[in-house]
């Protein structure tokens, strides 16, 4: 292992050809769940359950110890109590295992004994060069290649281009569900837990280098390998793969008496903020914003517009005004209607524009109905001034008529390179029963049209896209 830590290859962890699960069983969240998922999702490599008390686990031959396995083992997953972990690691080394996931908790985050054990694990990783993920991790899933080293993966994943990595295992699992609900396609999810060895920025770098991953989302408490993080950020910017980070720890830590102004004005989170700005990292403030931003980047990554003009088409004047206010606050550009675009729109008698229309364009209920939407949107789609189209709807997202509205928007979206986004304010749940997926809201969501509950949520995401493109253009030159 001569390679520096910044450059090591994580394939044995994320693309193992064989996996041993130490402590695999018929019950228990991790003991049973990981093996069950590997089987359920059709992992193509070899699986070796290790459990001295059983001959067979979930239909597979079980081994007493990892050293009894005849074949090579790339990855060992440890789900046994902490007291046995060091001994198992020694066996893994003898066996020639290349990567280990330690699911077991009770280490650095726990008591003195746990801290002692974690220290030993750190030393072991340094000494042997074996990649160690965890301890206290919820594992990972390589979604496109059916390698779910994870206890729960419901609903079944949608393979896609977003990689999500989190230090917190619980949050990785929870956000997996949010990504799934919003129909975001994923390439990887991973949690690094206590980071005795493998650090979150190493995962980010691996994902930046992965050809199927186009967008990286991360929940971060802090980076320990700063130089690796900086390198990763540069690489990502070069490759045009946005990194979106939700970082905790914004609260200012009381600084002791500093002797210069500069000293008292540079808290660590402020420095993170500065570094993110400097490196083109997209910083978000909350989980919804993280998922929404990742989703929109993911959908339009190959055709993010260079321009920043936004056309807003609204059913409601009030919602339009709110959106205009927020655009002002966020510094977003709403170019006024003019020329041919204006003429074409004013010629639509159904809109009752009485000779004037602005941006946001208030086209009333009539202008946002399914049969009118193509006529209303096409002038904007054809106008180079507008790079993004936002449709504001203010009515219940329920019922046959709006199923048609949603389908029309999906069709329009498929036939243009310009991103079309929908803000739908109003009821979204049907009265009772019924298939949720047949509802207008879900039709949009599942067919590549991002849909938001409020204008603010939508505009925040647009702001991220626009500033990312500008930043990258300035640095890389488009």
């Amino acid at each position: 292992m001569n390679e520096g830590k910044n450059g090591r290859n994580l394939d044995p962890l994320f693309r193992p050809k064989s996996i041993a699960i130490i402590g695999a069983s018929e019950t228990g969240l991790y003991q049973a769940g990981i093996l069950r998922n590997l089987l359920r999702y059709g992992y193509s490599g070899k699986i070796f359950p290790i459990n001295p008390r059983r001959e067979i686990v979930q239909g597979l031959k079980s081994y007493r110890k990892i050293l009894d396995v005849e074949d090579d083992v790339d990855l060992a997953v440890i789900v046994i109590p902490r007291g046995f972990v060091l001994d198992i690691l020694d066996q893994c080394e003898k066996k020639g295992v290349k990567a280990v996931v330690i699911i077991t908790a009770g280490f650095g985050e726990a008591d003195d004994y746990g801290k002692y054990l974690q220290k030993k694990i750190e030393e072991f990783a340094k000494k042997t060069g074996i990649i160690i993920c965890g301890p206290n991790t919820a594992g990972f899933a390589n979604i496109r290649e059916n390698i779910p080293v994870i206890a729960r993966l419901d609903p079944p994943p949608i393979p896609g281009n977003v990689a999500f990595v989190s230090q917190s295992g619980a949050l990785m699992m929870a956000l997996y569900g949010v990504f799934a609900d919003k129909s975001v396609g994923l390439s990887f999810i991973a949690s690094t837990g206590n980071q005795a060895d493998l650090e979150i920025s190493e995962c980010m770098k691996y994902f930046v280098e992965d050809e199927n991953t186009k967008v990286i989302a991360a929940f971060v408490e802090g980076f320990s390998k700063i130089s690796n993080f900086m390198e990763t950020a540069d690489l990502a910017l070069m490759k045009g793969k946005p990194i979106i980070i939700l970082k905790v720890g914004r609260t200012k830590v009381g600084a002791a008496a500093a002797l210069t102004h500069t000293g008292s004005l540079t808290g660590s989170d402020k420095v993170y903020d500065a570094v993110f700005k400097q490196k083109g990292i997209i910083r978000v403030d909350d989980v919804d914003e993280l998922v929404d931003t990742a989703k929109v980047f993911s959908l339009f990554i190959d055709r993010i517009p260079e321009g920043d003009g936004i056309a807003v088409i609204t059913q409601s004047g009030g919602l339009g005004s709110l959106t205009a206010d927020l655009c002002g606050a966020y510094g977003l550009n709403l170019p006024e209607l003019s020329g041919r675009t204006l003429e074409r729109l004013l010629s639509l008698d159904e809109l009752l524009t009485f000779g004037s229309l602005r941006n946001p364009a208030d086209v009333r209920g009539e202008g946002t109905r399914a049969h009118m939407l193509p006529k209303v949107l096409e002038p904007f789609i054809d106008d180079e001034k507008y790079s993004y189209i936002v449709i504001l709807l203010a009515r219940p997202a329920i019922g046959e008529e709006d199923i048609e509205t949603a389908r029309t928007i999906v069709e329009l979206s498929k036939n243009t390179t310009k991103p079309i986004l929908v803000v739908w304010v109003g009821r979204k749940m049907p009265d009772s029963g019924g298939n949720l997926d047949s509802q207008p809201y879900r039709i949009l969501e599942k067919n590549g049209v991002p849909v938001f509950h409020s204008p603010g949520a939508c505009l925040k995401v647009l702001r991220h896209l626009i500033s990312y493109v500008k930043f990258r253009k300035k640095r890389i030159g488009g």
């Binding site: 002797l259 000293g263 004005l265 420095v271 400097q278």
Partner: protein
């Protein structure tokens, strides 16, 4: 960031040497150890001048009243010299007085601060802000981790809320923003080269003149690691 390790405050003379090494423009001046010397220096650079007592024990010169601005002639200089030395002794009887700085008065359109501090994780950090209350009360500053590019420097300046004041506010001439960028890039270079030794630095204030006329450091403070 607080200074947790053993440090030393560099003398003004030492600071000036370091700034000169990085070609960072400084207001003209020299250190006098007597009123007679001060007069010679003042005649050399031309009135009006500023007088400042240099002492490692006196950090806030205004609070200690050891700073006199806009001295127009020899007699004003003699009485000012006497006054600020007395004020220094009064402020801290044990203060070691390293001399009195006689400095040219620079008229500008804005005062800015540029600094360096050390972050536990990222190492040196560069700070930019407008001088006075903007930094002290409003904390209207921007930060970057060196090395920075020209774009980073531009964005640092544009990022602060007080940027409008530099762009020429209410008929004031536009400040020499290029000169600020130039100093930021030099400070970045300095922070990278001195990353192992420098703990903190304030260039405060830097007087920025109108477009094309430059920006000049008027006061400087540097903290280095003790063993450097």
């Amino acid at each position: 960031m607080s200074v947790s390790e053993a440090f030393k405050i560099l003398t003004y003379k030492h600071c000036v040497e370091i700034l000169a090494r990085y070609n960072i423009p400084l207001a003209r001046g020299n250190i006098a150890s007597s009123p007679e010397e001060a007069i010679k220096i003042a005649e050399n650079i031309g009135y009006p001048v500023a007088l400042k007592v240099l002492s490692p024990q006196i950090i806030h010169k205004t609070d200690a009243k050891v700073l006199k601005l806009g001295i127009r002639n020899e007699s004003e200089l003699i009485s000012a010299y006497d006054e600020i030395i007395r004020n220094a002794m009064h402020y801290n009887p044990n203060a070691e007085i390293q001399g009195v700085l006689v400095q040219e008065m620079i008229e500008g359109v804005a005062e800015v601060i540029i600094g360096i501090s050390q972050d536990i994780q990222f190492g040196p950090v560069i700070l930019f802000g407008l001088g006075g209350i903007f930094v002290e009360i409003l904390e209207d500053v921007s930060l970057r981790v060196p090395p920075i590019t020209k774009y980073d420097a531009e964005e640092m300046i544009q990022e602060i809320k007080g940027y409008k004041l530099l762009e020429g506010f209410r008929g004031k001439p536009k400040a020499d923003i290029k000169a600020i960028i130039d100093i930021l890039l030099k400070v970045s270079n300095m922070a990278c080269e001195l990353r192992e030794s420098i703990l903190e630095m304030d260039l405060n204030p830097i007087i920025v003149r109108e477009e094309g006329k430059g920006a000049y450091v008027v006061d400087v403070r540097m903290l280095f690691k003790e063993n450097q």
